[in-house]
């Protein structure tokens, strides 16, 4: 599903190069549930951006679903994101003043779905995350946990194969964090989603079947629970 080979990402903001990813190779198969851990600045987010097709590696190869996407144009990457990837962010990133169901519809807006079909699938996704009753609420009328559920619904609505969550529980309390992680587990188990979650917390990582550790832009550990 995801195959990265010797990828390197160097930022050169003010001239001095910053190596965010040094030399990373990793394979993630369909249906895996991976936790990505590591200290701050170790390159976790950069890694997620690259496998999420938001960014391109400076060098190295990335094959997604059998397709080498490392040389894709911005628009081609956008298309890949829209079809194959669902993002969940720490800050939820819902569009303000827009109802939950409309937020969930968002990815389908750029994928040529009919309005009716968009609405049907969005409501279905909201049912999956248990928020069908809040379909017409706006983000500011929802709790943090509910907002994150809407974001998860948005990430699954396209039948995306891969869900990428960068510290999805970073803004949530422990109980809500557990609920969100249970939702991920359920999506992984029942819907067969490939899920990659970045987290600091071992508790959160323990929901995953596999843990990958980053340090200074390299993978230092890769262990499977069972």
């Amino acid at each position: 599903m995801i195959a990265v080979e010797n990828i390197r990402r160097v930022y050169t903001p003010g001239g001095t190069p910053v190596v965010a990813l040094n030399d990373v190779s990793l394979n993630i198969g369909t249906g895996e549930f991976v936790a990505v851990m590591g200290p701050s600045g170790s390159g976790k987010s950069t890694f997620m951006h690259i496998i999420g097709c938001l960014d391109r590696p400076t060098s190295g190869a990335y094959r997604l679903d059998g397709e080498d996407v490392s040389g894709f144009s911005k628009d081609k990457l956008a298309e890949v994101r829209g079809k194959k990837i669902g993002f969940v962010f720490q800050g939820f990133n819902l569009i303000p003043r827009t109802t939950a169901v409309e937020n969930v519809e968002l990815p389908m807006l750029y994928n040529g779905f009919e309005a009716k079909e968009r609405r049907r699938r969005a409501l279905e996704a909201l049912i999956t995350v248990g928020l069908e009753e809040k379909a017409d609420r706006r983000p500011n009328e929802l709790s943090g946990g509910q907002q994150q559920r809407v974001a998860i619904a948005r990430a699954i609505v396209n039948d995306a194969l891969i869900m990428l969550a960068d510290e999805p529980t970073g803004n949530l309390d422990t109980k809500t964090s557990q609920e969100i992680m249970e939702l991920f587990v359920r999506l992984n188990r029942e819907a067969g989603k490939t899920i990659i979650v970045v987290t600091h917390e071992p508790d959160i990582a323990s929901y995953a079947k596999r843990t990958v550790r980053f340090r200074d832009g390299n993978i230092t550990k890769d262990e499977r629970k069972w």
Binding site: G52, L54, K74, A78, F89, N111
Partner: protein, 409 residues
């Protein structure tokens, strides 16, 4: 493919969220478009009025006035001795090749009495061909004939204003009106003509055979003398040569030496009208150009607000990109938002402009004409402003880096 209906909905919502800001931004467009529409309506109205008056005067007309040229002002009814004669008229008719026809006029302002009503009007003595030269048929009854001129019969043709004011609805045909106590039989009514280019009511008049006028109404001094000769040139292109031929002919007939001034003056009505019309066109164009500067200002306002909007919604743009929006989707979203601002502003401006033109018409009393083409032009201009000034902010939005945009707070 860009999902246009969905994007329009998004843009409309964004505009509604910032109602006040959107309204103020549109105001620039509204004022600009309204100003252009009003200017064009007033200008077209004025031009059209001149054209109508031109037509009402008769086409390819020259007027030869008795007496030396004065700058501006009409010589009609001036107290000077006429210098033109009936024989001058005949000479112009017969000897100037560029002239199709000519008719003399004697005139004066006199009281016309019918029963116990009286009305002060311009009495015109002329010959029957005058009605053809001025393209002014009678609407009822019959015109007078050359025979009436030869025998100086006491018949008259009434202008519509006179009919309205003297007869108060009664049928004037066959009735007798008195001018200077001379009884005239009404044999015809002149078709309603409206104002002339100087704003005079052309229907406030009464036509009598020129000989009757000379003998009975305007005194012995006017015998054979005429104040004005109306000349119709063979065609528009003949106007200039007709003017030259008439001037030469009259100088010769009046024995005017090479260094002496003319004792008559020729005016080319068609040319006067046309220069008036082109002056109106120039002013209209100028005012519309000035008005369209405010469209430009409106456009800059739109650009300004769109840049603010793009910055404010950087995060939203990042989210849209993350879920699969291509740069064209983002560009369209903001372009359509700008276009909606300018088009809604433009539409409201058109409404306001039409209203403004109507107010102008009723306050100033001048006719205004709102043409479909001016509305389409204004609308097209609004669209162009929206696209032109919306493009840069939209382009800027579409070029954002999704990661940077997502990180924006």
């Amino acid at each position: 493919m860009v999902n246009l209906p969905a994007i329009v909905k998004i843009s409309l919502r964004a505009l509604l969220v910032n109602r006040m800001r959107s309204a103020l931004t549109m105001l620039g467009m509204i004022i600009g478009v309204a100003a252009v529409i009003t200017m064009m309506a007033v200008g077209t109205g004025a031009g059209d009025r001149i054209a109508a008056q031109m037509a009402s005067m008769g086409s390819n007309l020259l007027m030869v006035f008795s007496g030396a040229a004065t700058t501006g002002g009409s010589r009609m009814g001036a107290g000077t001795m006429p210098t033109l004669t009936m024989r001058d008229t005949e000479a112009i008719r017969k000897e100037c090749p560029a002239v199709e026809d000519a008719a003399p006029i004697v005139n004066g302002t006199l009281q016309v009495v019918y029963g116990n009503q009286n009305w002060s009007t311009i009495v015109i003595g002329t010959t029957p061909n005058m009605l053809e030269i001025r393209e002014w048929p009678v609407s009822e009854g019959r015109p007078f004939q050359w025979e009436d001129v030869r025998s100086a019969t006491k018949v008259c043709l009434l202008g519509q204003t006179l009919v309205d004011n003297l007869f108060l609805g009664a049928d004037p045909l066959g009735q007798t009106v008195r001018i200077k106590n001379v009884p005239f039989t009404v044999i015809g009514i002149l078709k309603k003509k409206g104002q002339n280019p100087t704003g005079q009511d052309q229907d406030d008049t009464i036509y009598v055979p020129i000989t009757t006028g000379q003998k009975r109404l305007f005194g012995a001094q006017l015998f054979d003398m005429v104040r004005i000769i109306f000349v119709k040139a063979k065609s528009f292109d003949d106007l200039d040569s007709a003017e030259t031929q008439i001037t030469e002919l009259l100088r010769q007939r009046h024995h005017i030496g090479p260094r002496q001034d003319d004792d008559f003056n020729v005016r080319n009505l068609t040319q006067i009208m046309q220069s008036a019309q082109s002056a109106v066109n120039t002013v209209t164009t100028l005012l519309s150009a000035i008005a369209s500067v405010s469209l430009l200002v409106g456009g800059i306002g739109i650009m300004n607000i769109m840049l603010v909007s793009v910055t404010e919604r950087t995060k939203e743009i990042g989210v849209r990109m993350a879920v699969g929006a291509k740069s064209v989707d983002i560009r369209f979203q903001f372009l359509i938002e700008a276009l909606l601002l300018s088009l809604i502003g433009g539409a409201l401006g058109i409404v306001l402009g039409i209203a403004g033109a109507q107010v102008f018409a009723s306050v100033v009393g001048a006719p205004v004409i709102i043409t479909l083409s001016s509305i389409l032009l204004a609308f097209g201009f609004s669209a162009a402003v929206g696209v032109f000034f919306g493009y840069y902010p939209a382009y800027k939005a579409s070029q954002l880096d999704p990661i940077e945009a997502l990180r924006y707070e």
